[in-house]
């Protein structure tokens, strides 16, 4: 285990961020490091890429990380099972998934009885898919939900015909398009303001290291603003970080650009929606946290 956030005599804090988020959704962090924005805020940021929210939670619990970038639904589930995690801000304001399906599919209704790829049983992608089905006039059980594992395997499964539809995130959508798959809809048009990825940490870390974490959040929001303001530089950073082609990076950036969170503020309605979906479609019989229990905006820039 680690020893929490350490500060040197000049007040520079070393902050360890555990992240299961990559690619364009994580661009504001990558760019902020690249542009020295975290440095400017006296934050020595160290990023560790991890597998999933479970490991993020474990890393926070064991003191191996000071803050984590994780999936919203994962933080909700962890809290339901007794973890004392707080959402302290978001990375993106809206969900990034685009529903792709075989050519000819025009709407979700056309997918009735078809195989819909999700990351895992009870995962956020499955909850969203179920909600989507209901939202678009089907019954929850009208789709066959096939867990395929990692997002990249969803693309593989879709392209090789193992599944009929999947919610993809850029840059995978362009590959799917190249292989003749078609865009059916964007999740953010159906579920506006649902925050997909959040920063989370424990209450004890918040009370012990509020100034440092605040500086971190300030740096992040500033980075997000920088990303929005400097398209070509941001694309270059994304291209290098995600090891993708210039075109793919550009397309991914353009898709994500409106949703970079320049305030870090989480939509209360969106969060409530997540909790609701977790109750309805998630795999838990535990009491789910309320928005107040979950969300702590005190670290956001401008809050007292």
């Amino acid at each position: 285990g680690g020893s929490g956030i350490t500060s040197d005599e000049n007040g520079r804090a070393s902050v360890r961020l555990a992240s299961s988020i990559t690619g364009s959704s994580f661009l504001a962090v990558t760019a902020g490091i690249d542009q020295g924005i975290f440095d400017k805020h006296q934050v020595d940021l160290k990023v560790v890429k991890i597998k999933s929210t479970a490991e993020a939670t474990a890393a926070l619990a064991s003191g191996d990380a000071d803050i984590a970038a994780a999936l919203t639904e994962g933080v909700i589930a962890a809290n339901a099972n007794g973890a004392k995690l707080k959402i302290v801000g978001n990375l993106m304001t809206q969900d990034q998934h685009i529903l792709y399906a075989d050519a000819g599919v025009k709407s979700v209704a056309d997918l009735k009885g078809k195989k819909f790829g999700v990351v895992g049983p009870g995962s956020g992608t499955e909850m969203l898919a179920k909600a989507l089905a209901v939202e678009e006039g089907l019954k929850e059980t009208d789709l066959v939900y096939v867990p395929t594992g990692a997002a990249s395997t969803q693309l593989t499964s879709l392209v090789s015909g193992q599944i009929d539809a999947a919610g993809l995130v850029p840059p995978y959508d362009s590959t799917a398009a190249e292989r003749g798959k078609v865009e059916v809809l964007r999740y953010r048009d159906v579920f506006p303001d649902i925050t997909p990825q959040v920063f989370t940490t424990t209450s004890s870390l918040i009370s012990a290291h509020s100034p440092e974490l605040k500086r971190f959040m300030a740096a992040y929001t500033e980075s997000a603003a920088w990303v929005k303001a400097h398209p070509s530089e941001a694309v270059a950073i994304l291209q290098k970080d995600a090891r993708i082609s210039a075109e793919a990076a550009k397309a991914a950036y353009e898709f994500a650009e409106p949703d970079y969170s320049t305030t870090g503020e989480v939509s209360i309605a969106g969060l409530r929606r997540w909790i609701e979906m977790s109750k309805k479609y998630g795999n838990t019989d535990k009491r789910l946290p309320t928005v107040d229990e979950l969300y702590d905006p005190s670290l956001l820039p401008g809050s007292p």
Binding site: S52, A54, T57, A58, A61, G74, A77, A78, A80, N81, G82, A83, K115, G120, P121, G122, S123, V144, Y145, V146, P147, T148, G149, S152, T153, T156, S157, S160, Q162, I163, G282, N283, T284, K286
Partner: protein, 275 residues
């Protein structure tokens, strides 16, 4: 002749005076039970003493109630699905691995040509090849069977190679001298000589196969015990997901005990483990 007039001993003589005690004789049966019981008690006590965060790990009693929960659900059909994947995968692993290993171990040019390839394939992390598995074997039962077979076949091949190479040449020579053909040689000499290696291979393969079922069902599944474990893990239902893991573990221990019983019959000729 005096020998025939000798009095018989009054009682059947035994190795040690009084003979081995009750515990000695039944130790094979009870020792593991006692060990497991002790471990469970320590485990439970540590948990109650707060040795870990209940979010990530659970006490035996919590796991037990998780198990009761699981039995409410489609546990049996999950086990049936996973069992089928496991059985078919193992069948392939043993059916292909044993002859391949024996051939590689006994034919020099095959060994020289393919041993590095076997090593290469064995050390390829199957995890990074999951996209390929999906493309080749689909998301259905095929990819899980392939997963089990691929994970389980290498311990089999590698153990069989080494076993064949260890066979006593004097026995091979004797059998050939008495007219054993190539097949008879395998059947009467190589295979029995390899039995200890084969048993090890089977044990290793079973463990690997079990894990492969879970991993395979992580990739793509709609039912099966691995699928259930995963969905509980994602929801931080620690008691329940550990119960799922324990079910797998108990099943594989049971299968291995069956293998050990089979081993006893196959290797009655071997001296048993020394005191």
């Amino acid at each position: 002749m005096t020998t025939t007039e000798r009095l018989p001993p009054l009682a059947p003589p035994r190795r040690t005076a009084g003979g081995p005690g009750w515990w000695q004789r039944r130790r094979g049966l009870w020792a593991p039970v006692v060990t497991v019981a002790i471990i469970l008690v320590i485990w439970e006590a540590l948990g109650r003493a707060g040795a870990w965060d209940p979010l990530f790990f659970a006490r035996p009693t919590e796991i037990w109630s998780g198990f009761l929960h699981l039995t409410d659900g489609p546990l049996w059909s999950d086990l049936a699905v996973s069992g089928q994947e496991f059985a078919l995968g193992m069948l392939i692993a043993l059916g292909v691995g044993v002859p391949v290993g024996m051939a590689l171990g006994s034919i020099r040019w095959l060994y020289q040509s393919f041993d590095p390839i076997i090593n290469a394939l064995y050390s390829t992390p199957i995890l990074v090849l999951t996209p390929l598995l999906v493309v080749w074997f689909g998301l259905g039962i095929g990819s899980k069977i392939a997963n089990v077979a691929i994970m389980a076949i290498f311990p089999v091949i590698i153990n069989m190679i080494e076993g064949v190479r260890t066979t006593d040449p004097a026995l091979l020579r004797a059998a050939r001298s008495f007219g054993a053909g190539r097949l008879a040689l395998y059947k009467d000499v190589t295979f029995p000589a390899v039995t200890p290696f084969f048993i090890t291979a089977v044990r290793l393969a079973i463990g690997k196969g079990m894990i492969a079922v879970v991993v395979g069902e992580y990739i793509a599944a709609t039912e099966g015990i691995g699928y259930r474990i995963r969905s509980d893990a994602e929801a931080f239902n620690t008691g329940r997901y550990l119960a799922g893991v324990m079910i797998m573990v108990v099943i594989s221990v049971l299968i291995m005990s069956a293998v050990k019983m089979a081993e006893k019959r196959l290797t009655a000729w071997r001296p048993s483990i020394s005191e």
